[in-house]
Subunit: 386 residues, 2 copies
Amino acid sequence: MIPIADRMAHIQPFYVMDLLAKARRLEAEGRSIIHMEIGEPDFITPAPIIHAGEAALAAGETHYTPAKGLPALREAIAGFYAGSYGVDIDPARIIVTPGASGALQLVMSVLINPGESVLMADPGYPCNRHFVELVDGKPVCVPVGADTGYQLTAEIVEAAWRPDTKAVLVATPANPTGTLLTLEELTALHDTVSSLGGLLVVDEIYQGLIYDAVGGTALSIADDIFVINSFSKFFGMTGWRLGWLVAPEAAVGPLDRLAQNIFLAAPTLSQHAALKAFEPEVLEILEARRVEYLQRRDFLLPALREMGFELPVTPQGAFYLYANCEAVTDDSHAFAEALLEEAGVAVTPGRDFGFNRPEAHLRFAYTTSLPNLEEGVARLRKFNRL
Amino acid sequence: MIPIADRMAHIQPFYVMDLLAKARRLEAEGRSIIHMEIGEPDFITPAPIIHAGEAALAAGETHYTPAKGLPALREAIAGFYAGSYGVDIDPARIIVTPGASGALQLVMSVLINPGESVLMADPGYPCNRHFVELVDGKPVCVPVGADTGYQLTAEIVEAAWRPDTKAVLVATPANPTGTLLTLEELTALHDTVSSLGGLLVVDEIYQGLIYDAVGGTALSIADDIFVINSFSKFFGMTGWRLGWLVAPEAAVGPLDRLAQNIFLAAPTLSQHAALKAFEPEVLEILEARRVEYLQRRDFLLPALREMGFELPVTPQGAFYLYANCEAVTDDSHAFAEALLEEAGVAVTPGRDFGFNRPEAHLRFAYTTSLPNLEEGVARLRKFNRL
């Protein structure tokens, strides 16, 4: 018997992992599976980034970097904000992290005392609440719906505020809903959070994956916002484990101190490779991929609606569709299991994203090719009619 | 003003980082600096591991792995324990982590409730106490001296035990002292800790770097010990950020759940490269490096003693000498600063390793070539005579 810390009772597994494992087993048995459950690009990392990784290996770049990351990479990230969004960020405010996961952990650990709460949208990325639980803070998962594009608003935040609330976390584009916050909405959120004495944390890891809207960054609003970003999704570098954080100047010292102690540094090779990520030849590849994601969305979204799934808000970003499935099933988890076993289609049930009517929702990731999505939709149609 | 969480008051920076930054500045100004402050091999990663990394890049291995790591790597680690130590470990108990840092964090976060204490040796690796502080546990830094080889003993643990003690952390070989625990001593520690109702965590990250003693693993003693290891030091893979944890079976589920949430997985490329780490051609390279470290120790240790530094216990592992410097200075920090500025030799003052007479100690790392060590010693001799 190993006495496990109490916090672990509040840290759930990714339920989709069991589903993924089952899908892999079925594939090993020779079954064809269409994967729409995976929150990761199907594309491999763009070739110029891979080549930069190879060059770094050949040059023997195998030692630690400074805890905040290679200075050249932090300058490249600052250059990206200047070039893409016209925002001038001091590289001193940029901390390169082991994935956005590392950035989320740093922020929550440096800000949240035991018992302090963080407001976040439900449905939302499940790890968000677990980073708060890790330091014995209280994640407050605020139910949001189609009326606000599944996002927190200034009004919702004001109503949900508690005496122990320390911060608000939003994501744009969001996982699992793919919805955005406009700069006006972010500004209103920032105003409200600031007036209540709290801090705003904005997850922008799907920033480059926006389809029929104009992108932006919360960094253009104020310099006391914590902004989290990643090389994983838009840049196609999931396995490299590399992200970054832009922090208010006053928080950089403690964040650096914690990063030194718990990470030492982000992977060196990944940092050298990422130096290429903002080069025009890579951005061209990424734009072509963005267009392909858009085509996939524009196929999958109407197909799902036609089958009776409800998506009242058109998702404009990331690579997810979060569908209300009440017209089809009253138990999304059982539905997902049956769909996998009987039809060979893997999707993620709502329970991985919180407590806000998970049984009525499914997440479809369009992280597989258009032909695969077409086959998946054909299987889903047939399965639905059974 | 950003309100920082209280725990950050207990998380110190690596003071040596300031010294390292100053050393780099002096080098940029054209000064020659001998680096004996860096806790990282000077060697780059062995070529066969680098080539495996290149092959993985060429094969497009850029996606996430399972949270516990590539099954093939976990099997290779189990094979390493069987081959090197004759210990049969179920790969299901092995979790591949982002460095030993990731493993330490998983263990402390899964075991320690706020207010629970963990006993550890002082002097010791400073991050150990910070992983406990991170989850608002209480690190209890127990002063140890030459009489016990700077290690906790069963008697010391029994005397230091408190009602809130949950676990004991030891390291063999240890940083900063380079001293070992024999299997007999580890067994006595395990018996005592178990009889007191606690858990034993053993850091074996310098396991392969042992000079005139027989190596071993705590895994041969019992299956309820948490053992932390790393590809960083012996295998020369610091920048790859890859380590592992062998856990009691009953803790694997919670550890996996937390790893999924806070890391997603260790870097993919590093894992593929590390598959080569246990191959004979790599082990041959590592043995040659071990012999070189031994030659360095056998030069540096008597040279320091001759100058008046006291090292009453011969360090038999890692690549550190932790010297009592009272005969030379009563302020190790000021001494290290002056030594760097005036003589161009960088060493780490005791304050980075705890609260046990840090002003009377310096850590010398022999992570630089023998000619560099000779030059460093010559400069130190000259500086001492001033």
